[in-house]
């Protein structure tokens, strides 16, 4: 690959490589950023934090030239830059790992990684050589265990897509690299590899920007932390000068003193029971969720958790075993059947599987309850707006109105729209696959209390999460999966990060041993 040098990374004092001054950006009436300053220094990781919709992704998109700022100035190595296209920023060594990576669906991982760079290798490209190169590059960072160069783009999981996106950037040897919530789609293993990668980049003198809502990552990785609120700069602090509470206060605007603890209650009758259920992806699953109970499903990426959820809601076929809903055997042929039986399902990948991006917030919220709101076939826009408004308020979805297009919302707010759709359905069982992915601290707490409230109202809740603190905090009971099987069930008293991880790493098939 092009071996652009990393020398001369310090044309400004304090090793500042990239500086943005007084950046302003608005979208119609929405002010996304005003007067924001950001500095990224060589050999340092600068975290960028803020609530959903604070303007983090917008700021990164301005750095790459994806958006043009209304005001302000961008300097790279002391020189003023006016990017009009991401290709220009890429050419001078600036890369951003997008929150929602774009992957070419019909070509291999190898081609996806070198997309755009293939031209450099001559007119005819040599597939075998490309794959060897990809394998070598993946191995350098330990990602060869996560994804193989031959896999086709459309078959990649969210984590694998993120890895491809990261590889694309890293092989270019950029001077500045920014990550937009990279771990929101990664499991623990991939995350650990990513942190190692970031540490390597730092030691090589790359300036790193890092957006995340996860405090522990921030304190593990960052040297300095820049906080945005409502599109304004709150401040930048060195890690040593701040702590968890201080950051939360900066982000939210005041102390978050009340602590969340789930109200426990006696669980009711089972809302769903799986008895020895197998599908193409999972085997011999026994699982029960009772009314008023929050049940967690933990495991590493690829353990079959999402596949199990899709089988429960009728999107993937159950090949053997029995499913009982409220004690009665059922066989769902499609999600429509499970919805009719009172099950709601928020899938893992909001953009691909849950949202209709070019439709409004209202359309997306009422999608699953349209028949309920309609009189006969006729929909009532007024009732739809009322329902949408209720949930926009309840979940504090940051949008100018219910008529805003979902594609214009920030990532975390899009996730809340998905939750709103299923809250509006008032289900007996709510299946949530990574419900707080990309959601900020404040909103996360709100989602937890909504889950708690639903449980108290007698809804059974099944939560898949890769964040162990989330599983531990929410679940009355936790199933741990590995290799398509349930390797253990832990009660509230038994569940700890260690006990979950031990079960998650159980080798389910002797033959699978490496």
């Amino acid at each position: 690959m092009n071996a652009s040098t990393r020398t001369d990374n310090t044309a400004e004092p304090d090793g500042v490589v990239l500086s943005a001054r007084q950046i302003g950006k608005h979208f119609g009436p929405i002010v996304a950023l005003t007067g924001v300053d950001l500095e990224l220094r060589a050999g340092e990781v600068t975290a960028i934090m803020g609530e959903n919709g604070a303007g983090k992704s917008t700021l990164l998109k301005i750095l790459t030239g994806d958006y043009q700022p209304d005001s302000g100035e961008l300097r790279l190595g002391g020189e003023v830059m006016n990017f009009t296209d991401p290709a220009q920023s890429r050419a001078v060594g600036l890369r951003v790992i997008a929150q929602e990576p774009e992957i070419v669906p019909h070509v291999s991982v190898a081609e996806n990684i070198y997309v755009g760079a293939i031209g450099h290798q001559g007119l005819l490209f040599n597939r075998a050589k490309l794959e060897r190169q990809a394998a070598a590059d993946l191995a350098t960072y330990g990602f060869d265990r996560i994804v193989s160069p031959q896999t086709i783009g459309s078959q990649l999981s969210a984590a694998q897509r993120q890895v491809v996106e990261i590889m694309r950037a890293v092989i270019d040897k950029p001077r500045v690299i920014c990550f937009d919530e990279p771990t929101s789609s990664l499991g623990d293993e991939e995350s650990a590899l990513l942190f190692a990668l970031i540490n390597t980049l730092r030691s090589e003198g790359v300036a790193v920007g890092y957006v995340s809502h996860r405090m522990n990552e921030i304190f593990r990785l960052a040297d300095r932390i820049t906080v945005l609120r409502d599109g304004k700069l709150v401040g930048t602090k060195a890690k040593a000068d701040t702590d968890h509470n201080d950051l939360v206060k900066m982000m939210v605007g005041r102390d978050l003193s009340q602590l969340f603890s789930r109200e426990r209650q006696v669980a009711g009758d089972p809302v769903i029971e799986l008895q020895d259920v197998s599908t193409d992806d999972v085997s011999n699953i026994d699982l029960t969720v009772r009314a008023g109970e929050v049940v967690g499903v933990a495991g590493l990426v690829g353990a079959g958790r999402s596949e199990l959820m899709k089988a429960i809601v009728g999107d993937l076929p159950v090949t053997s075993g029995t499913v009982l809903v409220k004690g009665k055997p059922v066989r769902f042929h499609s999600p429509a059947d499970s919805i009719a039986a009172g099950i709601g399902f928020a899938p893992e990948e909001r953009k691909a599987e849950a949202l209709i991006m070019q439709r409004t917030v209202r359309d997306n919220i009422v999608l699953a309850i349209l028949p309920k709101l309609a009189r006969g076939f006729f929909v009532s826009e007024k009732r739809e707006k009322q329902v949408a408004k209720t949930y926009v308020d309840q979940l504090r979805i940051r949008t100018p109105s219910t008529e805003q297009l979902v594609k214009n919302l920030s990532g975390g707010n899009q996730q809340k729209v998905v939750l709103a759709r299923w809250l509006a359905h008032s289900p007996a069982l709510l299946v949530l696959d990574e419900p707080t992915r990309g959601v900020d601290v404040g909103a996360k707490a709100e989602i937890y209390s909504i889950i708690d409230e639903l449980a108290q109202q007698g809804v059974g809740i099944l939560v898949v999460s890769s964040e162990l603190p989330e599983v531990l905090g929410l679940s009355d009971r936790t199933y741990v999966m590995a290799g398509g099987r349930i390797t253990g069930t832990l009660d509230r008293s038994e569940a700890t990060e260690e006990s979950i991880l031990a079960l998650a790493m159980t080798d389910t098939r002797a033959s699978a041993a490496l």
């Binding site: 002010v31 499609s334 429509a336 599987e353 849950a354 209709i356 991006m357 999608l367």
Partner: protein, 346 residues
Amino acid sequence: MSAPTTQRPETSLAREVMALPTPSIGRRILTTIGVQNISLLIAIIALVAVIGSQNPLFFGIDNVRVIGTAIAVSGLLAVVQTVVIIMGALDISVGSIAGLASVTSAMIFTVAGPLLGVVGALGIGIACGLLNGCIIVFGRVNPVIATLATLAAFKGIAQLVSDGRAQGYTGADGFFVFLARGTLIGIPVLIWVLIVLAVLMHVVLRYTSIGRNIYAVGGNDVASRLAGININRYILGVYMMTGAVAAIAGILITARTGSGQPVSGSEGLELESITAAALGGAALKGGKGTIMGTILAVILLGILTNGMTLLDVNAFWQNVAKGGLLVVAVIIQQLRSGERRIGLPA
């Protein structure tokens, strides 16, 4: 669990809402017609002004009727094509279905009278649509390829049953004559058929759950399925509806020409219908489009053809003009949408 709960201030939201200008009446009218369609309206007005100033015959009530009846058949197909496109698919076989319906309606009429002629043609149209839908849903064939194949096959069947010639003579039958030349409150029946269908489709798309779900399926089919929409049923239903409307178009062709036409009255209508839908703002990727836009586009194209004929523009140039109009219109729409100029456009 020790995550904090919050009561966040509403100020940020309030700021955004306050910043929104309160819509004036003019603006509200604008949003009802759709900003998208304003440019089509302006184009129509400009065209009418130019052609009218060159040839005063253009404004005659007779000429307006001529335009209206000329666009009726292609308008019907454009309206249903819009629905198919909104759902994220395409039906290239509509012209062939119309041709097949045209000959069969005339042939059945000859032996069994007008009522059975119409019913038979409709039945055949629906069956053709069902076949299209089944090939797509159960054969997993891309809609473009599937209907490209049936475009050829249906045309072949129409030629086979008719031996490639016009069939039957409906020119003396009261019902077919009424369809072709009758009027209701001064408006030709042909135009009424288009108006009724357009209003019906507009209402379905805009005000019913069926219409909402068609937009949803076109916007994101996986999300639609997970939200409980039976997308196979929608695909089959929309293609059957398209087949039925194409059959109505075929019956109108029979009525206008006085006999069943296997090919000549309907060839090329599929492309005209796609042209009108695209000009009217429907996005081929699905999820976007309106009947209002399509109807305005149909009118614009009708006036353009009629005006150029009145002004004695050579037919070859007419084709160039139509093509140019489509490209310019779509470019204007895309520029306004602010999409970045990278890769294949949405």
